[in-house]
């Protein structure tokens, strides 16, 4: 039996893995459109800040 691993995306704000089926959102940075930003359900709910690693834009 072969074992397979999956890599989960990490939330940009809290750096935790985003589980499948979670009410998360992903979008490219609104300012530079270079970096893919993931926001997990909790970070969206609590309006936690995210920061683009490329241009430094801070949202929401």
């Amino acid at each position: 039996m072969s074992q397979k691993t999956i890599s989960l995306p990490l939330c940009t704000s809290c750096n935790r893995p985003v589980m499948p089926g979670e009410r998360a959102s992903k979008f490219y940075c609104p300012n530079c459109h270079q970096v893919l930003i993931w926001r997990c359900q909790k970070c969206r709910k609590f309006s936690r800040k995210y920061k683009c690693l490329n241009c430094g834009f801070e949202g929401p």
């Binding site: 959102s25 979008f27 969206r44 309006s47």
Partner: protein, 223 residues
């Protein structure tokens, strides 16, 4: 004293964008907030007025409008849904969608518009723009369920849960809503290279405004 007054009404010479002076922009009441200020909106406000209303820093509003315009231009306006349940937001949203090609949803937001593929009015949106997250909750919730990013115009008393990009501004005023949607439309067209910086848009802010009849105006006056 004069300086203070100038700060309140704005200067006529200072241009915010080529066709719009600071005075004309501030006359729309774009930065007038509410007596309530939430923690998340604290970063966008300056100081409370003597009458208790919180004032929004309009330079941040303009900055966010520019970023929102970029975001919509990147994603593509035809994949963007613009929703408002407000009466004053109807005309601005219609005009915005006419200019940019976005999808307007006005009035009641039918549950399932984003989440139910069997619903005849189902829309596969990639981005949602709402005028007020407090009154347009159904659209925000459904966008959240589908993982669609949400841009929202937020007043000082709005809670920014499930919002991915905040545009701070007065979302209650008739003129203020018109001004914000006009500025976002201009930003989208500029970033999509459909309009140059010094070019005039097809409509001006007055065209974006919801016009009221004399009876409606009379009804608004206090008895």
């Amino acid at each position: 004293m004069e300086e203070r007054e100038d700060e309140e009404v704005g200067s006529e010479e200072k241009m915010v964008i080529p066709q719009l002076s600071e005075k004309a922009l501030l006359a729309t009441g774009i930065r007038i907030g509410t007596p309530v200020r939430t923690k998340t909106m604290e970063q966008f406000t300056t100081r409370p007025r003597p009458d208790g209303l919180h004032i929004i820093d309009y330079s941040k509003t303009l900055q966010r409008i520019d970023i929102a315009g970029k975001f919509i231009a990147f994603v593509g306006a035809p994949n963007t849904v613009v929703y408002t349940s407000k009466d004053y937001g109807k005309v601005p949203v219609e005009k915005f969608c006419e200019l940019t090609g976005a999808i307007p949803v006005i009035g009641r937001f039918m549950p399932g518009t984003f989440t139910n593929p069997l619903y005849p009015g189902h829309i596969d949106a990639e981005l949602v723009l709402v005028a007020d997250p407090a009154s347009d909750t159904q659209a925000v919730i459904e966008a959240g369920s589908m993982g669609i990013p949400v841009i929202a115009i937020c007043d000082t008393d709005n809670v920014t849960d499930d919002i991915d990009l905040v545009i701070p501004g007065n979302n209650r005023g008739r003129k203020a809503l018109a001004a914000i949607f006009w500025l976002v439309a201009r930003s989208v067209l500029t970033h999509a290279t459909l309009l140059s910086m010094d070019q005039q848009m097809k409509y001006n802010i007055d065209d974006f405004e919801t016009k009221m009849t004399e009876e409606e105006l009379a009804g608004e006056e206090p008895a």
